[in-house]
């Protein structure tokens, strides 16, 4: 009996000893995934994180639909929201009507989140690039410093988008740990200065565009950093001019002269041969395209071609988000969704019947005001013609920008050229700059959100017109005139008339007008109106046709220049992030 007791106890103790005391037993390492320590042991891993910093640019629908369409275009006076009905994408409708509230946060919190995600990767990469050559002897110091330049460019870009949308934001200049979660927004000047510092460090580290091997197209270049710096300086100068004393903007200064200098580094009208970039179509060159249908010999003009997937990474682009139709599906794809959002939905079949199901989603409908601006070859916007199609002297950019009944679109069940129907759209028009190409429609692409067309974030014409502004503001009217005329020349060469004619002298209004026509529906007009201090004048009182004839926009100065911080972000900050007063 005693023996049995001892046996029992011994078995029990033994079992405890065998298993319990082994410390390793509880050490379960993650499966199929590395820990951060084992991951960052060579340059390739850090380089992959540099790639990740770019990757957030085509995360979900953020930098195509949210930024380009909803934040940058829909609130402007160039368009009404559109869509199928007034309930189609309510938040976009509210933004168009300037009835958006803190509740309407979704596209804006995505812009916020994904800018900071990109910044997280960039900061992670920068921290590790700085001493990677100590860890990995095979790391090429030249590429390492180029990557540091790229990361600083991206850090500048993400911050700049945040400033455009939200005004002053917290600066993310390091990997943020949980103890630093509660943070304050910096004023606009502080953020712009931070971007400026990054870009100035990046410029000497970055290669020229022509030095990039073809497999590296899409990486940040010296020209991209210079161009972004022009924007930063122009924005600061405009803010200083128009918002002096407004605490949101801090101590913004007149920086026009520096802006001009960096602008001329990108493109000097008096020395254009040395530029890395050129205006596509300025010599009247024409391009083959799906748009010509079955006529293989037919071609399209350069401006039209710029707004097709074929025009990706052209010599007229300075920085583009690289979009590919990768078949990964909604949320995962690296394609863009902006083409399907901005393509008309309805068309008329051979029998003239309206068909509703074979097109895009009909957002971004050009307003009368934009059409009238186009009608006017005289940039001072007088003598408006009420019947655009009747004009022989229409600006050639019009056709690429505005679609209306009678225009053809490649649609229908078999993707043939059919007549678009805009009757159901609030303004009776649809934007065409991002019209779906043959391979971007639903039944041909993997999915509608996988558009292959790159997002043209910085175009040469944009930088030239900013440089023109800076030249004008610093009294260099000749440079300004030359730049504006270059842009007009390219437009003219893309058309068949002598319009738009070269200007003999340039005014500030000319530059504003030219920016509007050249960059319509791209994410510039709203941000430009804000920095010019013209938003109240141009947007306030604008009719919202979708709401019926009596409803006009009420612009609240001090409030509507920027979108409110995402309310969820304010809530989680425990009071450290504060909305601008009218949004509180």
């Amino acid at each position: 009996m005693k023996y049995k007791i001892y046996t029992s106890v011994r078995v029990l103790i033994l079992s405890v000893l065998i298993t319990g005391c082994s410390e390793d037993f509880l050490d379960k390492n993650p499966i199929a995934i590395q820990t951060a320590e084992t991951f960052y042991t060579d340059f390739d891993a850090v380089d992959a994180t540099c790639t990740a910093a770019y990757s957030e640019l085509n995360a979900r629908e953020v930098f195509d639909k949210d930024y380009i369409l909803i934040a940058g275009s829909i609130p402007s006076d160039d368009v009404e929201c559109g869509g199928e009905t007034i309930n189609d994408y309510p938040i976009a409708q509210h933004v168009d009507q300037f009835l958006h509230t803190l509740n309407d946060e979704t596209p804006f919190n995505e812009i916020w989140d994904y800018c900071y995600k990109g910044l997280r990767h960039a900061n992670t990469a920068i921290n590790r690039l700085e001493n990677i050559t100590d860890i990995d002897e095979e790391a090429d110091p030249a590429i390492v410093s180029q990557r540091i330049g790229e990361m600083k460019f991206l850090r500048g870009l993400y911050h700049f988008i945040l400033v455009q949308v939200f005004g002053g934001v917290p600066i993310a200049d390091k990997e943020i740990t949980p103890s630093e979660f509660e943070t304050e927004r910096s004023d606009i000047k502080t953020v712009l200065s931070f971007i400026e510092g990054d870009l100035k460090e990046a410029i000497p580290l970055l290669p020229d565009r022509s030095q990039l091997s073809s497999s590296n197209i899409g990486r940040a270049t010296k020209g991209a950093a210079q161009s972004l710096l022009v924007k930063v300086l122009v924005y600061e100068s405009s803010y200083a001019e128009n918002y002096s004393g407004d605490v949101r903007f801090g101590d913004c200064q007149n920086r026009w002269a520096e802006a001009l200098q960096y602008g001329l580094d990108v493109y000097d009208p008096n020395n254009e041969g040395v530029s890395e970039y050129s205006l596509v179509g300025i010599t009247g060159e024409r391009y083959a395209s799906w748009r010509t249908g079955t006529d293989a010999a037919a071609t399209i003009d350069g401006f039209r071609w710029l707004f097709t997937a074929d025009g990706d990474n052209s010599s007229g682009s300075i920085f583009e988000i690289q979009s590919i139709s990768d078949g990964l599906g909604y949320g995962a794809t690296h394609g863009n969704v902006m083409t399907v959002y901005q393509t008309v939905r309805q068309y008329r079949d051979a029998g003239g019947n309206i068909q509703n199901t074979y097109g895009g989603w009909s957002f971004n409908c050009p307003t009368d005001a934009l059409v009238q601006a186009f009608m006017n070859s005289d940039p001072r916007e007088a003598g408006l013609n009420s019947s655009p199609l009747a004009s022989e002297n229409l600006d050639p950019r019009f056709e690429t920008t505005v679609g209306q009944n009678g225009d053809s679109i490649l649609s229908g069940p078999t993707y043939e050229w059919v007549e678009m129907n805009c009757d159901n759209l609030p303004t009776g028009r649809i934007g065409r700059k991002f019209e779906c190409g043959y391979d971007e429609f639903w039944s041909l692409a993997n999915q509608p959100w996988e558009g292959p067309m790159n997002v043209r974030l910085i175009r040469l014409a944009d930088v030239m017109l900013l440089t023109a502004e800076a030249a004008f503001k610093t009294g260099n009217n000749a440079i300004a005139l030359a730049l504006v005329n270059k842009v007009r020349e390219r437009a003219r060469m893309c058309g068949t008339t002598s319009e738009p004619a070269a200007l003999s002298a340039v005014s500030y209004e000319d530059i504003i007008h030219e920016r509007r026509l050249e960059l319509a529906l791209e994410p510039h007009r709203f941000f430009d109106l804000v920095r010019w201090g013209l938003a109240d004048e141009m947007i306030g009182g604008e009719h919202i046709l979708a709401l019926g004839p009596n409803y006009t926009i009420e612009w609240v100065p001090g409030k509507h220049e920027f979108f409110p911080l995402p309310i969820s972000e304010v809530e989680v900050s425990n009071g450290s992030l504060v909305q601008y007063d009218p949004w509180q």
Partner: protein
């Protein structure tokens, strides 16, 4: 045993031999002296024992001479014969009947009526790592009557517990067959979630070892106990925080082999529909909408004038997607045993069609339980089970997602839409966003197959009296094979209307694990008054999970034989590479634990528990958790003065305190990881993706156990010889250091808004220990059993009340989650000092009426002036709802600042029932048995997100009939065609309580989260009703059967509720965004008929 037989045979006359075979099984009832008595002068006593309830003879009743091993049992006619002395006392006992003692005296004939024992307070209750007499329990433990359970037609053990135990809330995640359930013991166990699914589910301990509830079939269950408070659950330490469900499966009963066969057939239907507009009603409403929009030449497609609206077809898609679902259930078991060995064999098969087309569930299960008493001190046994389930249908989350739900489409699709065209193809909807639900259902080829095996071997050594060493080794293995075949089809080009390439997705998953326990127990009694029970044990276990999945395109043909990767003819698509996935996770833990029970004269009871747990889920410095438990009891009915009152047959006061833990978080949550992910790739030069990689989770390496501290006060009372019983429990439970996903600011670069739309599908937010939560409440259980003449009555009423407060959420003082289509922002808010998952939004105060207006806009629209306003800095009056017209919803300016802003939002309700009710009634009258079970939940709200569709203002979806026939219209509306002819007129209606139809949506009536969507969810449901008839014993005897019973029943026959949706039992498995109804799969109503045969 041999000795017993020999000694008995020596002194028994031949009549005893008649019972020889049966006697083999009686060892257990002959305790004590194993060596025979000396011969005495005795006489033969004969008699009959009958059942007090049915007056039928009772076979198998044990008759023993008290204090001896002399005994017999009654034969098939209830007759017995025994030798006894006049001074002997005969003890009659039979399971389920009250024990009777009869003095022999001068009697030679005894006719005894045995009364059924309704409540057996001496029954043994399974507790953690052991058993205890029910009357000696000091913790809050609910025993579920398996007899009641098994009357409920159900295919899952979890859902059967609904309403069965006070304080145990069970909600079905969906009404789909084979669906999971969410169980909450004493309120919300924790707010920890993984991928949005609430964790902190009770652990299931089956035959002493942790196992999944899927591994046991309801018919194989002998008993279920639920440990509700931490004083009892602390012995399970780490995992016991959310409660412990102890399941004991049947073992072979002693005696000749017994066969039990139960079969039922059921038919299931959807209990109700949502009344939607008919085709003509829709056509008229749509025309009205166009007229309001200012359209002057609109005619409803194909219908020229008002008189022809009646010609618009009505297709009832709810009718098309719902069906009458069949169910076959068969259970078969064989049980046998003797004093040395016993075995139980159980087999079961269920085939259940869902009430929604395309959904079904099949299950096969098999179990063998055996035990071998090798010798006096050594016993071994095993439990082996296997089950296979096959569940075609949608995934659970799809039923809850308004974009995916097939039911949502069935409700809101336009009624005029033809389901099929002339060629049998689907018809795309040209007018609105809601498409036909038929393609998603009819083209669905998705299946979940699960095979699971569980094995347990155990051995017990009892070297001396009172001491036992038990070792239990269990292992489980499960294998899932899921696939989703997507055929090609085309009836349009919008997403969902075509697929021009076939696709097969398959996913294989394996899980395996083991658990080894060694338990030493010692029980003794000292100085005849103090009972001591001591237990010490050790446990260790590991679990592993692996998966592999892939997707290939363009199969050779679309036959099921081709639904494999090798059948793919596509060798180039990148997706096939990106969709090859695989990985896994592992966890391990060990624990030592001990328990001491002391009772003095069975009156004063004390129990002490302690468990030390170690878990791989936490970092090296935080793995250990210590979980003490203490409980005391006082059986005051043992006091003489209480006994003398004669009312109380049992009375006990209990108090328990305990600490349990929560570690139900993802594995590796403390490891900072980095990964190469497709999402991080980038297509430089528009070429294929370059590899991207980065850190992919943010972690707090110092996370540790969440602790749950419970105080439980209870009273158990029984009156009138245990006929009436009452138990009351008061609990107070505090979760300390809630393990929650910290809401990381977007600024840190980690935030996700919707993890399902994250490219890598991972939730990168760190788990942190933050904040406390308190659950308090009451449980009441009232039981009554009696015999009225021939009727046996048994009724049980349970009621529980629970309230949950997020006491302190630390720096995350507000957690907001849960959205719905068309609504801006999060619906649910969990905030320090308030409830969990409160609905949060705007309060409404009816509609603006024409009386609220004293001016008009330029177009003649009345302008509402009876509303809040403020004066802007420029001196203008700014109206709170400046676009409102009569018939629009008036939102309440709760802070009185003249504006409707975020600050006006208030709490609108809570999705978790505060009151839960269960009522069971069993009646037996002769051959007839009747049972009824009501279940109810009260004191909660539902966010009826369907109303966004049913009251829409753009005609994209069909309207509810209620809205079409009655909505506010401040003036007559006339619709005209292109020639100026009146197509239809709609007269003013200024008395309606439904908002106006405004195609411009100027007032944003529905886009705001408001109490427009809030409804009372309370319901009382007749969960089960069953009537059975057993053939009389005389008849079954001829048929050589022990029992033959046929029965009919109904489940969910009646639901009393004010809720307007299909089913008030709205899923709450996502704890921070619970109770949002998005056309959830409703519970079926079931009618069944079955037969139960025993022989």
């Amino acid at each position: 045993m041999k000795n017993i037989l020999n000694s008995n045979l020596l002194r028994r006359n031949k009549s005893i031999l008649y019972f020889f075979g049966i006697l083999l099984s009686l060892a257990v009832v002959f305790p004590g002296n194993m060596f025979g008595n000396s011969l005495k002068q005795d006489k033969t006593i004969t008699g009959t024992v009958t059942d007090g309830a049915s007056n039928e003879p009772l076979p198998g009743v044990t008759v023993v001479v008290k204090g001896t091993t002399t005994g017999t049992i009654t034969d098939i006619n209830g007759k017995f014969s025994i030798q006894a002395m006049p001074e002997d006392i005969l003890v009659f006992s039979f399971v389920g009947y009250l024990k009777e003692e009869i003095m022999v005296a001068e009697q030679t004939m005894i006719a005894l009526v045995l009364a059924p024992d309704i409540i057996d307070l001496d029954e043994l209750v399974v507790i953690g790592y052991g058993v205890q007499k029910k009357s000696d329990l000091t913790g809050a433990i609910a025993s579920v009557s398996t007899e009641d359970l098994q009357k409920i037609p159900n295919t899952g053990v979890g859902s059967m517990l609904q309403g069965m135990a006070a304080g145990v809330q069970v909600t079905n995640n969906t009404g789909a067959p084979g669906s999971n359930v969410t169980i909450r013991v004493h309120g919300i166990p924790t707010i920890t979630s993984i991928d949005g699914v609430a964790q902190g589910q009770p652990i299931w301990i089956i035959d002493g070892v942790p196992a999944s509830p899927n591994s046991v079939s309801s018919s194989d269950i002998k008993s279920i106990e639920i440990l509700k408070d931490a004083s009892s659950a602390a012995i399970y330490g780490s995992n016991g925080g959310a409660g412990v469900i102890l399941v004991t499966t049947k073992k072979g009963e002693e005696g000749k082999p017994k066969v039990n066969l139960n079969y039922y057939y059921a038919s299931q239907v959807a209990p109700n529909r949502i009344d939607m507009a008919t085709g003509p009603e829709f056509g008229r409403m749509f025309t009205e909408m166009e007229a309001l929009r200012g359209e002057t030449d609109f005619t409803f497609p194909g219908y020229a004038d008002a008189s022809s609206f009646d010609a618009i077809a009505t297709h009832d898609y709810q009718d098309m997607v719902f069906r009458e679902g069949m169910l076959h259930n068969i259970d078969f078991s064989v049980s046998s045993g003797n004093d040395r060995t016993n075995t139980y064999l159980g087999l079961g098969y269920v085939n259940q069609e869902g009430i929604l087309e395309g959904t079904s569930h099949q299950r096969f299960n098999f179990r063998v339980n055996s035990e071998y008493q090798v010798n006096k001190w050594f016993m071994v046994g095993e439990r082996i089970s296997f089950n296979y389930t096959n569940t075609p249908g949608f995934e659970e989350w799809q039923y809850q997602n308004e974009y995916e739900s097939p039911l949502m489409n069935a409700i809101v699709v336009h009624p005029y839409l033809e389901p099929y065209d002339n060629t049998g193809n689907y018809v795309p909807n040209g007018l609105g966003q809601a498409g036909s639900p038929l393609p998603s259902i009819e083209l669905l080829h998705k299946e979940f197959n699960r095979r699971e095996g569980n094995g347990l071997v155990f051995a017990r050594i009892t070297p001396v009296k009172g001491l036992a060493l038990e070792t239990r080794l269990s292992g489980s293995l499960s294998f899932n094979d899921n696939y989703d075949f997507l055929p090609t089809f085309s009836y349009g080009v919008a997403p969902g209307q075509f697929r021009n390439i076939s696709e097969i997705y398959r996913r294989y998953e394996t899980s395996n694990g083991y658990n080894w326990q060694n338990i030493l127990t010692y029980n003794t009694t000292i100085i005849d008054a103090i009972n001591i029970g001591a237990m010490v044990g050790f446990e260790i276990g590991e679990g592993k999970y692996r998966y592999m999945s892939g997707r290939r395109l363009d199969l050779a043909t679309e036959e099921p034989e081709m639904w494999y990767f090798d059948a793919s003819t596509d060798e180039t698509s990148p997706s096939q590479i990106n969709e090859s996935r695989g990985g896994g996770n592992e966890s391990a833990g060990w624990a030592v634990f001990t328990r001491l029970n002391l009772d003095y004269k069975s009156t004063y009871l004390l129990q002490l528990n302690f468990r030390r747990d170690a878990s791989s889920k936490f970092g090296p410095d935080n793995r250990i958790g210590n979980f003490p438990g203490l409980s005391v009891g006082l059986k005051f009915s043992e006091y003489d003065f209480v006994k003398n009152l004669g009312i109380l047959s049992f009375g006990k006061f209990r108090y328990g305190y305990g600490v349990a833990g929560v570690n139900t978080i993802d594995d590796y949550a403390f490891y900072a990881t980095a990964a190469y992910l497709t999402h991080f790739g980038y297509g430089f030069d528009n070429a294929a993706l370059s590899t991207g990689g980065s850190k992919n989770v943010l972690v707090d390496p110092m996370i540790h156990w969440e602790e749950i501290v419970t105080h439980n006060y209870g009273v158990d009372l029984a009156f009138f010889s245990n006929q009436l019983t009452l138990s009351v429990d008061r609990f107070h439970r505090t979760n300390l250091g809630l393990l929650i996903r910290e809401t990381t600011p977007g600024y840190a670069g980690w935030t996700v808004r919707d993890i399902y739309q994250e490219a890598d599908g991972m939730d990168p937010r760190p788990y942190v220990n933050r904040g406390n939560m308190v659950n308090t409440g009451w449980d009441f259980v009232l039981g009554y059993t009696t015999n009225i003449g021939n009727i046996q009555l048994n009724a049980n009423l349970s009621y529980s009340y629970v309230e949950t407060i997020a006491e302190d959420l630390g720096t995350d003082s507000i957690l907001s989650e849960g959205g719905a289509r068309g609504l801006a922002g999060d619906i649910c808010r969990t905030e320090t000092g308030y409830g969990v998952s409160d609905f949060y939004g705007f309060e409404t105060d009816g509609l603006f009426t024409i009386e609220d207006s004293d001016s008009t806009l330029a177009d003649g629209t009345p302008f509402i002036t009876n509303q809040p306003s403020y004066i802007s800095p420029s001196g203008d009056v700014v109206w709170a709802q400046r676009y409102a017209a009569p018939g629009d919803i008036r939102f309440v300016d709760t802070d009185g600042d003249g504006e409707i802003t975020q600050d006006d939002r208030v709490r609108l309700g809570n999705p978790f029932p505060k009151h839960e009710l269960g009522f069971t009634l069993n009646l037996t009258w002769k051959m007839i048995d009747f049972s009824m079970f009501w279940q109810g939940a009260f004191g909660y709200q539902i966010f009826n997100a369907n109303k966004y569709y049913l009251y829409n203002n753009d005609g994209n979806f069909n309207w509810s009939q209620d809205f079409v026939n009655d909505h506010y219209r401040w003036q007559d509306v006339t619709a005209v065609d292109g020639d100026g002819n009146t197509v239809a007129t709609f007269s003013a209606n200024t008395s309606s309580e439904n908002p106006r139809l405004d195609p411009f949506n100027r007032n944003n009536n529905y886009g705001r989260i408001s109490d427009f969507y809030i409804e009372n969810g309370s319901y009382l449901r007749l969960k089960n009703l069953q009537i059975g008839v057993s053939l009389p014993k005389q008849v079954t005897k001829i048929m050589h059967l022990e029992q033959f019973r046929i029965y009919i029943g109904a489940k969910n026959l009646l639901t009393i509720t004010k809720y307007s949706g299909m089913d008030p039992e709205v899923p709450t498995y996502s704890v921070l965004s619970a109770g949002i109804d998005k056309a959830s799969y409703p519970q079926a109503r079931m009618y069944l008929a079955g037969v139960n045969i025993k022989f």
